[in-house]
C-alpha cells in the first residue's frame, strides 16, 4: 500500500515535470502536441476510490496548467477524462465479474486490451483539450487535424512509456 502511494506520487511528479520541461515544447508541424502526463490517469488503479481518482486527475491537470499558464484547460480536460476511464475500461477489457479488477497497465491487461484502452483515452483527451483550447468549432478541419495528430503522437509516446515499465517489471519478476 505504502509502496503504491510512493510509486504513484513519484509518477505524478515525474509526469508533471516531463510535461512541463519537455513535452510542452513539442509541437510537430505546429499541430501535433504531446499530452504525455495523462499516462498517470491511464495507469491509476481501477480499484481506486472514484473521488480520489477524480481529485488526483483534477490536480494533475491543474499542476500542468500552472506550469503552462493555461488555467483551467487541462484541469477541466483531466477531470472529464477521469470520468471516461470506467466506461472506456468496461468497453475495452473483457472480464468476469468475480475477477479482481486488473491493473490498467500493459502487464495487467496484455497488449490488445491495453492498446484499445489507452488509445480510447488518448483520443478522448486530445479531443477534449483541443476543443477547450480552440473554444469553437469554426475551423473544424484544423481542429480535427490537431486532434488526430496530437492523439497519435501522445499515444506513441505513452506506448513507449508502457513498454519501458513493462520490461522493467518483467525483469524484476
Amino acid at each position: 500500500m505504502t509502496r503504491d502511494v510512493l510509486k504513484y506520487t513519484l509518477m505524478f511528479v515525474l509526469m508533471v515535470l516531463l510535461q512541463a520541461v519537455i513535452f510542452n515544447h513539442v509541437a510537430i508541424f505546429n499541430v501535433a502536441c504531446a499530452f504525455v502526463f495523462i499516462y498517470f490517469i491511464i495507469r491509476m488503479p481501477m480499484s481506486l476510490n472514484p473521488i480520489v481518482a477524480l481529485t488526483l486527475s483534477f490536480f494533475l491537470g491543474l499542476s500542468v496548467d500552472i506550469f503552462s499558464d493555461t488555467a483551467g484547460m487541462n484541469s477541466l480536460a483531466c477531470t472529464l477524462l477521469c470520468a471516461c476511464r470506467w466506461p472506456a475500461f468496461a468497453l475495452c477489457v473483457q472480464r468476469d465479474d468475480e475477477q479482481e479488477l486488473p491493473d490498467p497497465s500493459l502487464r495487467g491487461l496484455g497488449w490488445g486490451a491495453f492498446f484499445k484502452y489507452a488509445l480510447a483515452l488518448t483520443v478522448t483527451y486530445s479531443a477534449l483539450i483541443c476543443v477547450i483550447q480552440a473554444f469553437s468549432f469554426a475551423d473544424y478541419k484544423l481542429l480535427l487535424v490537431r486532434i488526430g495528430a496530437s492523439a497519435l503522437l501522445t499515444f506513441l509516446i505513452i506506448l513507449g512509456f508502457a513498454s519501458i515499465t513493462h520490461t522493467d517489471s518483467a525483469k524484476r519478476l
Binding site: 515535470l17 512541463a20 520541461v21 473521488i51 477524480l54 486527475s57 496548467d65 483551467g72 477531470t79
Partner: protein, 281 residues
C-alpha cells in the same frame, strides 16, 4: 432528508466531478480572477524554480545561435559607431572652424581644416599624417597649426591625405623670435622630451627671462607672424656669438587632433621674388 443523503452518497463521485468541472470552468473563463493568483501561473515559486533549473541546461543549446546573433549585432553596431564618429568629426570640424579664435596674424592667409590620423612623438624623426590632400587644396610646404601652436609643415601630398613633418623632427627648423622684440633665432627639436625644443642662434646681448613667449617671425611664407610657439624655460648653452635656450612648446603633441593647414595666397609671388633676389645675388 434521508433520501437526499442517500442520493448524495450514491452519486458522490459525480458530485465531486461536477465540482471540479465547475472550478476548472471558472478558472478557464475568469481570466482576471486567476491572474490575481500568481501561484496559479508559472510565476509561482515551484515552477519558477523548475524552469530556472531547466534553462540553466537548455540555454547551452542556443549558445551557438546566440553567439552568431551577437556577432552580427556587434558588427552592425561597430558600423554605426564608425559612421557616427565620422559624422561627429565632420560636425566638430565645422564648429571648430567657425569658433576657433583667429589671430590677426592670419590676415591674408586662408586655411584648411584637417584631422591628424597618424602621429608619433617618440621617434627620432616624427611625422604626422592628415586626412586632407591635394583635392582639398593642400600643397607641400604649407604650415600646420592647432589651437595651441605650431604643429608642423606639409611635406608630401596625396589626393586625400598628406604627410607632414612634425615640429618634433630635427629636419624642421622654424624661424622664431622673442615676442615684443625683433631678435630672432632658429627653433629645432633635438629629440627626447616632446615638450621641449631649442631656440638657437639668438644674439648674445639679448636679455631673456624665463616665461618669455616665443612666436613665429613670419620670415618665411610657411607661417604668419606672431603665432605662439612656446615659452622660455631655461638656458641651453652658448658659444662665441650666439646663445641657445630651451623652449617649452605650447603644442601638446600627444593630443594633436584637429589642425588647420595654412594657405598663403601670396606664397607663389613671394617665393618667386625671393628666388629672383637669390639669383641676382
Amino acid at each position: 432528508m434521508r433520501n437526499l443523503l442517500n442520493f448524495l452518497l450514491r452519486y458522490s463521485a459525480w458530485m465531486v466531478a461536477a465540482i471540479y468541472v465547475v472550478i476548472s470552468v471558472l478558472l478557464l473563463v475568469s481570466e482576471n480572477a486567476y491572474q490575481r493568483h500568481a501561484w496559479l501561473t508559472s510565476a509561482n515559486g515551484v515552477s519558477a524554480w523548475v524552469y530556472g533549473g531547466v534553462s540553466k541546461v537548455t540555454s547551452y543549446f542556443n549558445l551557438k545561435a546566440n553567439n552568431e546573433d551577437l556577432m552580427t549585432r556587434n558588427a552592425l553596431l561597430e558600423d554605426e559607431i564608425v559612421q557616427l564618429k565620422q559624422q561627429l568629426r565632420d560636425i566638430k570640424l565645422q564648429m571648430y572652424g567657425d569658433s576657433m579664435k583667429v589671430t590677426p596674424a592670419f590676415d591674408g592667409y586662408s586655411y584648411v581644416m584637417a584631422n591628424v590620423i597618424n602621429n608619433s612623438v617618440s621617434r627620432p624623426k616624427n611625422y604626422l599624417t592628415l586626412d586632407r590632400g591635394s583635392a582639398d587644396g593642400i600643397a607641400p610646404g604649407m604650415g600646420i597649426v592647432d589651437q595651441n601652436g605650431i604643429v608642423g609643415v606639409v611635406s608630401v601630398v596625396g589626393r586625400h591625405s598628406a604627410r607632414a613633418i612634425s615640429l618634433l623632427n630635427p629636419d624642421f627648423r622654424l624661424s622664431c623670435k622673442v615676442k615684443g622684440t625683433d631678435f630672432f633665432g632658429s627653433l629645432v627639436w633635438e629629440g627626447g622630451d616632446p615638450a621641449i625644443a631649442v631656440l638657437e642662434e639668438l644674439p648674445r646681448h639679448v636679455r631673456l627671462h624665463r616665461g618669455d613667449t616665443i612666436v613665429t617671425t613670419g620670415y618665411s611664407s610657411v607661417f604668419p607672424e606672431g603665432i605662439i610657439v612656446g615659452t622660455i624655460v631655461g638656458d641651453h648653452g652658448a658659444n662665441n656669438n650666439f646663445v641657445a635656450i630651451d623652449i617649452r612648446l605650447t603644442t601638446d603633441f600627444n593630443r594633436v587632433g584637429m589642425v588647420r593647414v595654412i594657405r598663403d595666397a601670396n606664397k607663389a609671388e613671394r617665393d618667386s621674388i625671393e628666388q629672383d633676389i637669390e639669383k641676382t645675388e
